[in-house]
C-alpha cells in the first residue's frame, strides 16, 4: 500500500518563503521616504521602459520589486481597483490602506493556496495634504503588511540599505536632500549611481489633483549634482 508522502506544514511554508525570498533578493532595492513636500519614491532600475515606480491614483503611488510580470500585474490591478472605486463612489473615497489590504489578501492567497508564491515585495505610498500624515505600506510576498510614516526599503539587501537610510534620513528634508540621502543609501559606500540607473518619482504636495511626477533626465541630473 502506498503511503502519501507527508510533509509538515511548517516545512511547506518555510520552503515557500525561502523560494519567494530568494527570488526577491536577486533584484535591486527601492526606497520610499517622506520629505518636506510629499513622498519620494526611488528605485534602482537600469531599464528606462520597464517601470518599478508608478502612479495608482491621485495621491497614491506604487513600487514593486521582484519578478516584473508579477508585480506589474498587481500594479495594473491596483489602478483598475482604484479607478473603479473612484468611479463607483468618489475620488476622495480611494485610499492606500484599503488598497494595501487588497494586495495583502491577494498575496496571502497566492502564498497559501497556489503552486508557487508571488516573488514580489510591494510598497503602496499615500501622500496626505497634511504634513506628517503621509502613509507608507510595505507588503511582503506572504501578505504581511507593515505601515510607517517615515521611510521604507524593499527588495534585495533591504537590511543593509535600511541601516544606511536610517542614519542619514530625518523628517522634513527638502527634495534635493531627500533624493541625495535615498540614492546614497541605495548605492552604498563603494558605488556611485548615475541618473540612468535610477527611477525616481514624487507624490508632490502641491495642490494638483494628480500628485505623481516623475523626475527624469536633466531635472534628475540637477538634483544629484
Amino acid at each position: 500500500m502506498n503511503m502519501p508522502l507527508y510533509v509538515a506544514p511548517e516545512q511547506i511554508m518555510k520552503d515557500r518563503a525561502d523560494y519567494a525570498r530568494k527570488g526577491i533578493a536577486r533584484g535591486r532595492a527601492a526606497i520610499a521616504a517622506t520629505y518636506a513636500d510629499g513622498v519620494l519614491l526611488c528605485a534602482e532600475n537600469p531599464s528606462n521602459t520597464l517601470r518599478k515606480v508608478s502612479e495608482i491614483y491621485d495621491r497614491i503611488g506604487f513600487i514593486g520589486v521582484g519578478k516584473y510580470n508579477e508585480f506589474d500585474q498587481l500594479r495594473i490591478a491596483g489602478v483598475r481597483h482604484a479607478d473603479l472605486k473612484g468611479y463607483t463612489y468618489s475620488r476622495e473615497d480611494v485610499d492606500a490602506r484599503w488598497l494595501a489590504n487588497q494586495y495583502a489578501q491577494t498575496l496571502g492567497q497566492y502564498f497559501t493556496h497556489e503552486m508557487k508564491p508571488l516573488e514580489v515585495e510591494l510598497l503602496v505610498a499615500e501622500m496626505s495634504p497634511e504634513v506628517g500624515e503621509d502613509r507608507l505600506f510595505h507588503l511582503l510576498y506572504d501578505g504581511t503588511v507593515m505601515d510607517t510614516t517615515t521611510h521604507v526599503v524593499i527588495g534585495g539587501e533591504a537590511d543593509v540599505i535600511g541601516n544606511r537610510l536610517q542614519d542619514a534620513w530625518s523628517a522634513g528634508l527638502p527634495l534635493e536632500d531627500a533624493v541625495r540621502v535615498a540614492v546614497g543609501a541605495l548605492a552604498g559606500p563603494d558605488r556611485e549611481l548615475v541618473p540612468d540607473d535610477l527611477e525616481i518619482a514624487v507624490l508632490a504636495r502641491d495642490g494638483e489633483r494628480r500628485s505623481f511626477r516623475r523626475i527624469e533626465g536633466d531635472d534628475l541630473g540637477g538634483l544629484l549634482e
Binding site: 500585474q73 498587481l74 472605486k85 463607483t88 489578501q105
Partner: protein, 264 residues
C-alpha cells in the same frame, strides 16, 4: 470589491470601459423612446481655433422642454491636462460620457505608462458617441466637441462629432447645440487664420451672447446672480479655465460696447 485580476485571455487591457463591461457594470440597455420634455438638455457650446491653441466655451442653461431646469450648468470640462471636451444634448448621458471619457484617458495613461495621442483621444470619444447611438435614436442625443493641444504637431486641434460617432476635424471653429447656428454666424464673420487667443475669447463671449438672444434654450450672461459662460483655453500649457471674474469683465466690456452703439 476584490482586486480585479484577469487571466491573459480575459484581460480588458488599458480600457476602463472594457473593464466595466467585463465586470457587468456597463451602461443599461434602453428599450423604448423617452419623451423629449422629461430629458434635461444642455445647449450651446463652441470651440475656436487660434494660432496659440483652442478656445472652448459654453452657456450655462439646461432645459427640459420649455422649462429651464438649471441656470448654472457647466458644459466645458478638461478631458485631461492637454485637452477639453464640451457637450450639448441630453444632459444626463452627456455628463456620464464626460466622466467616463476623463477616466478612460487617465486610466489608459496609468496602465500603459504614457498618454494617448490627441488623435487617439479623439477616436476614443468617437467610439463612445457611437456607443450611445441606440440611446440617441430614443431621444437621448449627445454630441460633444473635443479640442486639445497636439504635442507632436505643436498646434491646437478641434473635432466635431455627429450622433453616429462620425468625427470631423475643423480648422477654424465648431459649434454645437440649439444656439450653435447663431453662434457660428458671429464667429464666422470675425475669424481669421492667425487669430489671437485673447481676441478669440472675446468672440466666444459675443457669440454666446448673440446665441442667447436668438435661441430660448441658450442662457445669456446673468450679472444679477453672477452667472457667466464657462470659457477655457487649451494651449501648450494645457487646459486652463478662465476665472469667473475675467469672464465677467469681458462680458461687461461687451455689454457696454453694445449699449454705447445704441444697438439694443
Amino acid at each position: 470589491m476584490t482586486l480585479p485580476l484577469f487571466t491573459p485571455d480575459q484581460d480588458p487591457g488599458p480600457s476602463f470601459l472594457g473593464l466595466l463591461d467585463r465586470l457587468g457594470l456597463g451602461a443599461p440597455e434602453i428599450s423604448g423612446p423617452i419623451e423629449a420634455g422629461v430629458i434635461t438638455h444642455g445647449t450651446t457650446v463652441l470651440a475656436i481655433h487660434t494660432r496659440d491653441g483652442v478656445v472652448m466655451a459654453g452657456d450655462r442653461r439646461a432645459t427640459s422642454g420649455h422649462h429651464i431646469s438649471h441656470h448654472s450648468m457647466e458644459k466645458v470640462f478638461p478631458a485631461d491636462r492637454h485637452s477639453g471636451v464640451a457637450i450639448s444634448g441630453a444632459a444626463g448621458p452627456a455628463m456620464e460620457m464626460v466622466r467616463l471619457f476623463q477616466l478612460q484617458l487617465e486610466h489608459y495613461e496609468k496602465v500603459e505608462g504614457s498618454p494617448l495621442s490627441l488623435e487617439g483621444k479623439a477616436n476614443q470619444l468617437s467610439l463612445m458617441v457611437r456607443g450611445n447611438l441606440m440611446a440617441a435614436l430614443q431621444g437621448m442625443v449627445v454630441v460633444p466637441l473635443f479640442a486639445g493641444w497636439d504635442e507632436r504637431l505643436e498646434q491646437g486641434r478641434l473635432f466635431q462629432y455627429d450622433i453616429t460617432g462620425g468625427r470631423y476635424e475643423e480648422r477654424r471653429y465648431a459649434t454645437g447645440g440649439s444656439g450653435g447656428v447663431h453662434a457660428s454666424s458671429v464667429i464666422k464673420l470675425r475669424h481669421a487664420p492667425d487669430l489671437d487667443i485673447g481676441v478669440a475669447v472675446d468672440i466666444a463671449v459675443e457669440a454666446l451672447f448673440e446665441a442667447a438672444e436668438e435661441d430660448s434654450a441658450t442662457g445669456g450672461p446673468d450679472p444679477v446672480r453672477g452667472i457667466f459662460p464657462v470659457i477655457a483655453t487649451i494651449g501648450p500649457g494645457g487646459f486652463e479655465r478662465l476665472t469667473e471674474d475675467e469672464v465677467e469683465a469681458r462680458t461687461t466690456v461687451l455689454l457696454e460696447r453694445l449699449s454705447d452703439r445704441g444697438a439694443r
